[in-house]
Amino acid sequence: MLSENILKMEGISKSFPGVRALHNVDFVLRKGDIHALMGENGAGKSTLIKIITGVYEKDAGQIVLDGRPVNFKSPQDAQNMGIGTVFQEIALCPNLTVAENMFIGRSRNAFVQWKQMNAKAAQMLSSLGIPASPTQELSSCSIAVQQMIAIARAVDMDCKILILDEPTSSLDEDEVKKLFELMRKLKARGVGIVFITHFLDQVYEISDRITVLRNGELIGEYQTSELPQIELISKMMGKALSDVSTMKKQGPLKSDSSVSVFEATALSSAAGVRPFNFTIQKGEVNGFAGLLGSGRSECVRAIFAADKVTSGEVKMNGKRVKIKTPLNAMKQGIGYLPEDRKGDGIIADLSVRDNIILALQVMKGFFKPLSRKQAEEFSNQYIEKLSIKTPSINTPIKSLSGGNQQKVILARWLLTHPMYLILDEPTRGIDVGTKVEIQKLVLGLAEDGMSLTFISSEIDEMLRTCSRMIVMKDREIVGELSEMNLTEQNVMRVIAQGGE
């Protein structure tokens, strides 16, 4: 069993119109190995995965599976050969039940044996410790649970190779632990696991080997135990070590005056957040901390009136204002980058240009379209400013990588010159380099006098950028930490103790 290759890819190349996604990349997966695939946005990880899983056809190179050269024609093909995948974006049917989702498309029989299916699903769910019932509709489960169901589905298919593309991005620590347990079990059974994540700590916790890609090229394959974290980062980013370490040292910015840019009193929304008070000063960066489902997103959505506001009073710069719709909020100078980039952020089929100008255009009004020239100017300006990688401003945003899509949404809001910008998980599912860029940008904006709320599942990102942290639990604000008190331990302590 020792170092037996189950998958060997050699000289893989793949191009898309205008983009060379992969160039001469090798990748080897051994039996019973957990192999982390690392790289920045657009490094080619997703493309490589899609070639392994038969979504894309390779332009050149060869794939050897279990000693036999193969050529996948379709995802079905790859699945039949024992390659199971869980993609970053959950690809299940929300209006079917949990059990149906687990077994959909896999029955040889034309008739569904409901009882048997539900029983089997129940058994699997409990053995994996997934808190869901087989007959429950999938959409009623949290994103984390949906993710685990997707994994359960893949696991159940007797796969030899399991590909996990960002499986942990929406899981909290406990759930991650459970997932890791599961991964270790599979590893012991001899399953080769390809693991993609942006959480470096997780890579070191679970993986045996690391393959690093950059700009579509192979940088190298390493033993995890022999590659220090700082070196990994520098290999991914292609930057010198000193560069990376200075980036980490940026301290929180102190707010400079006492004007409340935004103030909410007893605000609550139809999404079920308890009435809360909240203020933010000019040039301040604050964060909402809390576990998944603690209501941090619901809070900021209430501020932006993304959910129906049910009660409360809102002041901008000390003046009482009415914010009943997102448009009201925008006109008051609030911007909101939503948590769910694909569902709430991008307009997939529209061009990068239209996506950038959208918010500004809507604020200007229905009868005042920007001229083509203006729109192009604005777009180019922000594409340069945020170094967005796109073949042209007319490219549909959906063909950009995740991090670049996120930058486009950022550009959209920066273009409206908001006084108060809310960023809900702007760094989710994007590479380390872009994460650092976004954090730097946040600090830079605050220095120029913008107020920002920065929410992230990675607490050290928030510790690095926020000067004040609001701690939430069970849809309620349970504490506030700033300055000296703002440490990871304290945040954990407040969450653990609840409202005291």
């Binding site: 569902g343 089929d349 529209l350 239209d354 959208l358 809507v362 009868f367 379209p369």
Partner: protein
């Protein structure tokens, strides 16, 4: 240079409707070389092309509305023929009750019928945007009941519009060589073009059609936009009804623009638009509408039995949709790529070689398709 490329990519959207149009013209020219000949009758142009433009007037106008409804609501309005029947009934009622018919009465009648169109459109719009009824189901109501409503407005079978102005609107105005419906259609197309140019209608409609949730978080109210498209649809139906009833000279509430929604939906599809909403090409839809009219007349010209025309049309459309399907497109793309590499291998010079490759490869793939 990039502008040029963009224009070319825009033209590629029109590939389907334009190629069909060319194909139909070729078939017609084979049938008789006099296809394009235009004669002057009583000071107005007649011939195959003017007939197509004349005949397609209502369809083109309805297709414009259908394009917007499809794009925003991700569904179709199947009651457009019935809306047009209702609004034209209102128009006829007003004109017949006016006593003396002047240009002013006609214009007033037309405006009132437009208001009726807005009301009916609002009814559909509220069902779809407010009550979240699927567009086809919501408009099924008027599809079933609309003609009865029109009949009740008429009060009798087929009231006749026997006045000179109506006749001129339906045919020609003395001294003007182009038939009036053609002129009205052109005016309508220009108005829509101006609206698309001077407002954000396109951006809003496309955003709502692609991702209503994201559109809402950017300050667009998807309900309002979907409602708006149904209002526009209502006005389009009113204008089409106005033209149709003046052409016919009487209001036949049973047969006026019967089943025209099928052709309008088809025109939207031929125009390269997704019936599932999102980005739309108005020029594609308009060309699609004219193409359908041309197809109808081509089949007549080929002396296909009137009863069999629908079957022929169906076969033609199946072929069309298969050619335009993503499957075939991907295949054609591969053939094109292969041809490109072969040609590029022969002629190394950078830009010139590439251009040659494009030209010759389109030639070969064109041959293959035929």
């Amino acid at each position: 240079m990039t502008r040029l490329k963009e224009h070319l990519s825009h033209l590629s959207h029109l590939f389907l409707p334009l190629s069909v149009l060319v194909l139909l013209i070729i078939i017609n020219l084979i049938k008789g070389a006099d296809y394009f000949s235009i004669t002057m009758v009583n000071g107005a142009f007649y011939g195959n092309i003017p007939n197509i433009l004349f005949g397609a007037s209502e369809l083109v106008i309805l297709t414009i509305g259908m394009t917007l409804v499809s794009a925003a609501s991700q569904g179709q309005d199947i009651s457009i023929g019935e809306i047009a029947t209702i609004t034209s009934a209102v128009f006829v009622l007003f004109v017949l009750n006016a006593g003396q018919v002047t240009l002013l009465t006609i214009i007033a009648g037309f405006l009132i019928s437009c208001v009726a169109g807005l009301v009916v459109g609002a009814f559909n719009g509220i069902l779809v945007s407010g009550f979240k009824v699927q567009p086809m189901v919501a408009t099924l109501i008027l599809f079933l009941g609309g003609r009865s409503i029109a009949f009740m407005i008429d009060g009798k079978l087929s009231p006749i519009l026997a006045n000179n102005i109506s006749n001129q609107i339906g045919t020609v105005i003395p001294g003007v060589p182009i038939q009036t419906p053609i002129i009205l259609t052109v005016v309508f197309i220009v108005i829509i073009a101006v609206v698309l140019k001077t407002t954000n209608l396109r951006l809003y409609v496309e955003s709502v059609g692609i991702n209503p949730s994201a559109a809402r978080l950017n300050g667009i109210n998807p309900k309002k936009i979907i409602f708006l498209t149904f209002l526009i649809m209502g006005v389009c139906a009113a204008v089409a009804g106005f033209i149709a009833v003046n052409k016919a000279g009487r209001h036949d509430s049973v047969n006026l623009l019967k089943l025209i929604m099928m052709d309008a939906i088809l025109a939207v599809a031929i125009g390269g638009n997704s019936l599932g909403g999102g980005k739309f090409s108005m020029s594609g839809s308009i060309i699609g509408a004219y193409t359908i009219e041309m197809l109808n007349r081509t089949l007549l010209r080929l002396e296909v039995e009137p009863e069999a025309i629908k079957a022929f049309k169906a076969v033609f459309i199946i072929i069309l949709m298969v050619i335009a399907s993503p499957v075939v497109r991907v295949f054609a793309g591969k053939v094109l790529d292969k041809a490109k590499t072969i040609v590029a291998g022969n002629s190394l010079p950078k830009t010139g070689g590439l251009n040659n490759a494009v030209v010759s490869s389109t030639d070969t793939s064109g041959k293959k398709e035929k």
